[in-house]
């Protein structure tokens, strides 16, 4: 008996998200060797477990899963030295793709069946977001390699960007819920 569409959507998105997270967790291990690799393997394992749990069961683990994946990648970056990782935009797009697929899996509630246009639109938005993330990552890396402005200018841009992001954190941290009268 074929599974209902709502179960298919949930399972497909959850498994796809887990697969993306596995790639994100395992790919950086190829960059390191020795003790660091063994230590990062544990981190990668933890990241995969968290990512799978966030996608398939516990949506609240999405944040911790992203943080652990990011931490593993950061350690690998530090181990690379001064060489810029050209695959960083791919990692950024993959991270976003994982997060969107995991959210989609959680959004497909049991008992609620999405009609086809909803699924198609959602798939388009997720794919477009991942592609846009890839493009944006490439642009950021290109901007970082431009000689103009020197290190101080880049540092200033980084400080401004970080400040803006922290402002965004403050904005998001404020209560955004509204309550309307029952209608």
């Amino acid at each position: 008996m074929p599974a209902p569409r709502r179960a298919r959507t949930r399972l497909t998105c959850g498994l796809a998200a887990t697969a993306v997270a596995a790639v994100l967790a395992l790919a950086p291990l190829a960059e390191v060797t020795g003790t660091l690799r063994e230590a990062l393997a544990w981190v990668a394992g933890l990241a995969m477990v968290l990512a799978a749990a966030a996608a398939l069961r516990l949506g609240s683990l999405l944040g911790p899963a992203l943080v652990v994946l990011l931490a593993e990648y950061t350690v690998v970056l530090v181990g690379r030295g001064d060489r810029i990782d050209a695959a960083a935009p791919l990692f950024g797009a993959g991270l976003l793709l994982y997060a969107e697929l995991a959210s989609w899996a959680r959004e497909a509630r049991p008992g609620v069946s999405d009609e086809r246009p909803v699924l198609v639109t959602r798939a388009i938005v997720v794919a477009a977001s991942a592609l846009a993330a890839l493009g944006l990552g490439v642009l950021v890396l290109l901007a970082a390699t431009l000689p103009a402005g020197g290190g101080l200018a880049r540092l200033a841009i980084g400080v401004v960007a970080t400040t803006l992001t922290l402002v965004l954190v403050v904005v998001v941290a404020r209560p955004m819920s509204t309550r309307a009268p029952r209608g």
Partner: protein, 444 residues
């Protein structure tokens, strides 16, 4: 609508902030490239999120139905702005059942299915609405149990494009629906001991104009020539006339014991009682009798005896509101208005004989001289098989106690018949009638 941010926003912003700080601290532009998409998506989501303009109406295709019928609930949705994903959830009350497949209406032929977890059940679907679009979702519900229902408990949940916010709204559009039990075809009813003076279908014990032959007597001045029995006249040598029983109507009061409802796999005693009451009411009213109702329980309802189609609808409406209302207060029939129980009325009691207040009320009716017929809706089969030796013993004791109670009623002049699950109401009524004949309560 109530707006709620999703957990995704906090995760994205937090990870973006961490990555940017790490990138700034470590001097790694790669981390900025990782953080930028997350931050940009949140900014884009915040910038584009608008409260959706939604309106919804609920309508049911009819206000009355029979058990087993299918009714269609139409959810009409109107969107002022585009809604990327709208979850529509209809609460299906207990006693109704959601559709097995997708909705019959609505463009796009969307496939939706009911959620059948818990009670009450729900029916849910997710749709996309363009700005200005109107959509009608038809949901077929099966009526599984009699009762008065309010349909229209709808929950709406809208999502934005990036799924950063949800907007929720609860609609409580009361669309009434009354589901009546399917009346059984009854060919024979419990005949009353006494009748009214109005014309009806019951053969009265009195003599008068009618069809049923009663006796012969000598001709008296004023007798109609067509009443003369010529054969008897030839044998007796004097004019003899036929006497006949007139056909009269009667008052019937259906006495429903709603103190307790014993439920089991075979159904509930109250369901059976209500179904039987509806069938009896329809059958007696067809015979031009006047029918009243006393729903005697935690919540007492009554209807004075009345005749015709109007009385049937009033009675069915009242029956549909019958429910078990738990109370410890003692209630007797003295709480009922006197006109609810006319002196010559036949009272047909439908009771599981479980609550002592209901049992005592029947004794009270007998003590007041009412013509009483009791249909004992047996709860024994509904309680399930008793486990163990003690359980079996308890069950036998209970059955004996009930048997004793029925004998006490019979000694006081009431016809009492147990109604097990296997029997139809018609068979039970025939048993009641036989019991009344043996006790000399019914003609024949």
């Amino acid at each position: 609508m109530t707006r709620r941010p999703s957990a995704k926003i906090a995760a994205y912003v937090g990870v973006a902030a961490l990555a940017l700080l790490a990138g700034l601290t470590l001097g790694r532009p790669e981390l900025v490239a990782v953080a930028a998409p997350l931050a940009v998506l949140v900014v884009a989501g915040l910038a584009t999120a608008r409260d959706p303009e939604l309106d919804a109406e609920v309508a049911v295709d009819r206000e009355r139905a029979l058990v087993g019928d299918q009714v269609t609930v139409t959810l009409s949705l109107r969107a002022g702005t585009r809604v990327e994903r709208l979850e529509v959830l209809l609460v299906v009350p207990p006693g109704m059942e959601g559709p097995a497949g997708g909705p019959g209406g609505g463009p796009g032929g969307s496939s939706v299915a009911p959620r059948t977890t818990g009670t009450p059940r729900t029916w849910a679907a997710a749709v996309t609405l363009a700005a200005g679009e109107e959509r009608a979702l038809d949901i077929g519900l099966s009526c599984r149990r009699w009762g008065a229902y309010w349909l229209g408990d709808v929950h709406l949940r809208a999502h934005d494009r990036f799924r950063l916010f949800t907007w929720e709204r609860h609609l409580d559009r009361h669309a009434p629906l009354k589901v009546f039990p399917v009346p059984e075809a009854l060919r024979a009813l419990v005949r009353p001991a006494e009748t009214l003076v109005s014309t009806g279908s019951h053969v009265a014990p009195q003599r008068g104009d009618g069809i049923e032959f009663a006796d012969l007597r000598s001709f008296m001045p004023g007798d109609r020539p067509r009443s003369i029995n010529w054969r008897a006249t030839a044998r007796r040598g004097g004019l003899m006339v036929n006497q006949r029983h007139p056909e009269r109507a009667t008052d019937v009061v259906l006495f429903l014991d709603s103190f307790l409802d014993v439920r089991g796999p075979a159904g509930s005693t109250l369901d059976r009682a209500v179904g039987a009451a509806a069938s009896l009411a329809a059958a007696y009213l067809r015979q031009r009798d006047r029918v009243g109702l006393v729903s005697f329980g935690g919540f007492v309802q009554w209807l004075q005896p009345g005749g015709g189609q109007t009385a049937l609808y009033r009675l069915l409406d009242t029956l549909m509101e019958t429910q078990v209302f738990a109370t410890a207060a003692w209630k007797g029939i003295r709480h009922l208005p006197p006109r609810t129980l006319p002196a010559k009325a036949l009272i047909v009691a439908l009771t599981p004989l479980v609550d002592e207040r209901g049992v005592a009320a029947l004794f009270d009716l007998l003590a007041r001289g009412y013509d009483l017929a009791v249909v004992d809706i047996s709860p024994l089969a509904r309680t399930g098989a008793a486990g163990g030796e003690w359980g079996g013993l308890a069950e036998r004791l209970w059955a004996l106690e009930r048997e004793t109670l029925r004998h006490r009623y019979q000694r006081l002049g009431a016809a009492v018949v147990e109604w097990p699950d296997a029997l139809h109401l018609q068979q039970v009524l025939l048993e009641v009638e036989a019991c009344r004949r043996r006790a000399g309560l019914a003609p024949g």
